[in-house]
Symmetry: C2
Subunit: 208 residues, 2 copies
């Protein structure tokens, strides 16, 4: 049951952080929810930041997998669509991290470095997909434009849930789909006519 308690602490902490926001959840709250003692919790983790660090490791692994490039062949629109899904679902599952991103990163140099690495990796991955599309003739843009678009893709993807929350959006599953469409909209103007109309159809169907 030892491993189990440790795992249950992480699972419960994640659920509570996501539901209430990390700043509102104390170690005592987590222990209460699990019906274990605070002392027990501190037997398994040094402190709250230690719990966050382990949750971050889970997140990191998940996001690294989502950013894996699909295959050796040139990527198509559907590959982007799928990859965006994986990324947004990962962000959703660890949304507490994004809600208070700067605050959480400010407390740990290690997390700062690791999150910056993920952003760089996401940037590389995005640009690689764009170059694949360009190589296949489906996309047309200068190298400089590609870099700029990739950056905007990262910004919108990273902060879309926060934007939806600030806007007062209630239906969170709809918000995710809306976010995916907004990212696609960034790419759309650089697509060849055929792919653009294909994308427009996909997006239309997706939001209903």
């Amino acid at each position: 049951m030892a491993r189990d308690t440790r795992r249950r602490i992480l699972d419960t902490a994640l659920a509570m952080f996501n539901a209430q926001g990390e700043p509102h959840v104390t170690t005592n709250h987590i222990a209460d929810e699990l019906e274990i003692s605070p002392g027990n919790l501190y037997y398994h983790f040094r402190n709250k930041d230690d719990i966050i660090e382990h949750l971050f490791a889970r997140y990191e692994e998940r996001m690294d997998a989502a950013l894996e490039l699909p295959s050796a062949r040139l990527p198509g629109l559907e590959d982007i669509w799928l990859q965006l899904h994986l990324v947004f679902e990962c962000i959703w599952d660890y949304r507490f991290l994004y809600r208070d991103l700067i605050e959480i990163l400010s407390r740990s140099r290690r997390l700062r470095l690791r999150f910056a690495r993920i952003l760089r990796r996401a940037d590389d991955s995005t640009q690689a997909v764009f170059q694949g599309l360009a190589q296949a003739g489906a996309m047309r843009a200068t190298a400089q434009e590609l870099g700029g678009i990739a950056t905007n893709v990262l910004v919108v993807a990273t902060f879309w849930l926060n934007y939806a929350a600030a806007r007062g959006e209630k239906d969170e599953q709809l918000a995710i789909r809306h976010g995916i469409v907004q990212v696609m909209l960034l790419i759309s103007p650089f697509l060849r006519e055929a792919e653009r109309t294909q994308l427009a159809t996909l997006m239309q169907a997706y939001l209903d």
Copy 2:
């Protein structure tokens, strides 16, 4: 000196919130920095959230002014450029609000409503400028596209500073200019050829 102390509390709180992040600044810290007693601070403001609410009112007034549409005539690229500057400088001056946006809004229904109103107003303003450009023949996009672009403009503008911070960007003045360019990049593909090249030149010069 009464009015003065009140004003100095707000000024100092703003500076400290921006420098250290709102969660790290307590009412006692503010009083210390001002070399007044905690009791004195509480004579002027009911609590910390009261201070934040008054800072928000300042911010709101400033942002409302920045979002004012330039004039009756059709807007040109330079008008957008200027307006973006005003908006980014306002965000910069009240960056504590954006750093912990969801957390701060979660504590006050009134701030939630007022921030949502500003987002709606920014959306309207952005779309109005786009329609002006379209009417002048400088921009070409469907009504649906205009809406989508406007949303992405808001997301990038709202969270650009957070993105730069997460990315580890140190030079903050450069970060602001970079943010303005990234927003312009969103609009660029929908501009007429003449305006696009004009914009490309402007952006190039701007980042040096």
